[in-house]
């Protein structure tokens, strides 16, 4: 294992999961819930330790290209895409673990939260690395199961029970679809290794149905528009740290799993590209229209995730369809920037939710009128929320502008009229999104403070530090957009080769 650092990238989080749970259980605050939970410190230590194998894997992949590893029917291939996903989940989970300390103070059973948060890191890292169709399903299912608990974390609240059950039923149907598709692929190619399938697959109706089932099944998790109905409920009632993880990493992980599965059926790459672009257009428009009518901040952000995923689908779809590598690079870059911006938006909204509602002991949702004038008392959360939503709305010197710009440029590169029309449609949607982003910024800065804000609870350093880090990162990427090219370039190249480009 010494010369395979990536195995530790999966192993450290998964080994520390039961440790975190047991220590929290034995030494945790138990019923007197005002004391801090020791699980948080072990979680932070485990996540920081996981950065070491991550950095080693990065240096190895950048030096030698992808790493292959297989033992019997377990096959791994670590390429740029695996590193992109692992890096995103590791970075967000570290910040969320830091954020959750004060946010969860006073809740019972915190050890479960931290244990599952760390487990998610190992599971998603594994999901990005697998090179076997059935292993992909196992990682995907493990990811779903750990998030079921996290979404229904406030298990005495009817709203979170409703969201958790809806999420569970829809995900379970999706994963059964994926299993049927795996059965079809096994029946027609006789193999489950993605490379072997790619060699022997033909353009047959059976594989076309399998691909459609993959899109349906993984589409539930990555919130393609008709299958998105779990998302706004789950994202708005989950603890805010988990909302950031769900929106910043989980739906992207579903998309990357879908791309891995579809890339094995690469003879039909242009069909998959068109389908992705069609879903992208639907996602953008529907997400924007629904977000416009929301009054709750976290629900608004959840619907804006739908429309942001639409840009990713369009970038990846046009890249795969027209063989434009810049489209794939833009799509992957947008996955990164969206993870950061939406993570920041949910954490900032979560810090205000904590200050205004949770610290006072109620579980009311945070509405737009609650946050009026929040900048007076909570300058950093207000600034972070503004940076995040302006970045999501594509304002030039912020990170979100450059990733969308790359997708738009790639669209013009194809020189096909209908793709250019789609890009114009995407640009107009970006303008439409200001219809709900701008009121948030105006509310926190220009309105008189609401009564809730005046009586709000003070925020500790642990809650504010992740907001500051992510805001600075978004501004820095906005000023130097090439900062992540070393990661998106090999990832896009690997994906294009897998799709036969």
């Amino acid at each position: 294992m010494s010369n395979n650092p990536f195995l530790w990238l999966i192993a450290i989080p998964l080994i520390s999961t039961p440790v975190i749970y047991l220590i929290g259980r034995v030494f945790g605050p138990g019923e007197e819930s005002s004391k801090p939970c020791p699980s948080q410190y072990i979680t932070l230590a485990a996540l920081l330790a996981t950065w070491i194998p991550y950095i080693l894997s990065v240096s190895e992949v950048l030096a030698n290209g992808s790493i292959e590893y297989s033992s019997q029917s377990i096959a791994f291939r670590i390429d740029g895409l695996s590193l992109l996903l692992a890096g995103l989940v590791l970075a967000l989970a570290t910040l969320v673990a830091l954020f959750s300390g004060a946010y969860l103070a006073g809740e019972k059973e915190q050890e479960k939260y931290y244990a599952l948060l760390v487990a998610l890191v190992g599971i998603i890292a594994g999901l990005g690395m697998t090179n076997d169709l059935f292993n992909l399903w196992v990682w995907f299912e493990a990811m779903s199961i750990s998030t079921y608990f996290l979404v229904a974390f406030y298990r005495k609240q009817p709203r979170s029970l409703e969201a958790g059950i809806k999420y569970l039923v829809q995900s379970a149907i999706g994963s059964a679809m994926i299993l049927l598709a795996i059965g079809l692929v096994l029946a027609s190619t006789g193999s489950l290794n993605l490379d072997l399938i790619r060699q022997v697959s033909t353009k047959s109706p059976m594989l076309l149905i399998a691909g459609a089932l993959f899109i349906l099944g993984f589409g539930v998790k990555s919130a393609l528009v008709p299958m998105h109905t779990w998302l706004p409920d789950a994202h708005s009632v989950a603890p805010s740290g988990i909302s950031a993880m769900l929106s910043g990493v989980i739906i992207e992980a579903g998309l990357i799993a879908m791309l891995r599965a579809l890339s094995a059926l690469s003879l039909m790459a242009s069909e998959w590209g068109i389908i992705l672009m069609a879903f992208g257009a639907a996602n953008m428009l529907f997400g924007n229209l629904m977000a416009l009518s929301q009054t709750q901040v976290k629900r608004l952000l959840a619907f804006s995730s739908l429309s942001q995923m639409g840009y990713v689908f369009i970038g990846l779809g046009l890249g795969i369809y027209a063989n434009v590598i810049n489209g794939v690079r833009g799509g992957l870059f947008h996955i990164l920037t969206h993870g950061m911006m939406k993570g920041l938006a949910f954490l900032a909204a979560g810090s205000l939710l904590y200050a205004l509602h949770i610290a006072a002991g109620d579980h009311m949702p945070l509405t737009k009128s609650d946050i009026c004038g929040a900048a007076r008392r909570y300058p950093l959360p207000a600034l972070a929320l503004s940076v995040a939503v302006l970045g999501l709305g594509c304002i030039p010197p912020l990170a979100g502008f450059w990733s969308k710009w790359q997708i738009f440029l790639a669209g013009f590169e194809t020189q096909q009229v209908w793709i250019i029309a789609l890009i114009v449609f995407a640009g107009l949607n970006s303008l439409l999104s200001f219809g709900y982003y701008a009121p948030l910024v105006i509310a926190v800065y220009r309105r008189e403070p609401s009564e809730l804000v005046q009586n709000g609870h003070p925020l500790s350093f642990g809650i504010q530090a992740p907001l500051l880090l992510l805001s600075v990162a978004i501004i820095v990427i906005g000023l130097w957009p090439n900062l992540f090219t070393w990661l998106t370039k090999p990832a896009a190249a690997g994906l294009m080769t897998a799709f036969g480009g």
């Binding site: 059935f134 709203r159 059950i165 809806k166 569970l168 149907i173 994963s175 096994l186 029946a187």
Partner: protein, 104 residues
């Protein structure tokens, strides 16, 4: 195994799948929804075993089937646990009553 029995098994997969989809459309009781989800996954498991048999890879597909059954049992246990919570907190197992708590 001769081709006709493969066809019969494939028809069974489709039949189980159809039963599950019908069940999902008409069932409102949370416990019954979990049972229907089990039927749906069992259709997929049978499909995997048939697919392995067609290619002479029955060992692979049987080990996959066992893994799927384990993973799926976990899902159903979580689902039933949430259903019990719903019964305790809200006092009903009816999915329609539950969805009244959704925010629009």
């Amino acid at each position: 195994m001769n081709p006709s029995s493969i066809n019969i098994l494939a028809a069974c997969v489709l039949a189980l799948f159809g039963v599950a989809i019908y069940g999902l459309l008409v069932t409102r009781n949370l416990i019954k929804i979990m049972i229907v989800l089990q039927i749906l996954v069992k259709a997929a498991v049978l499909g995997l075993v048939v697919a392995g048999k067609m290619n002479g890879q029955i060992n692979l597909s049987q080990s996959i089937a066992v893994t799927v059954i384990v993973a799926d049992t976990v899902v159903v246990i979580v689902g039933l646990a949430l259903a019990i919570q719903a019964r305790q907190v809200i006092g009903t197992l009816d999915a329609d009553a539950l969805s009244k708590f959704r925010e629009d």
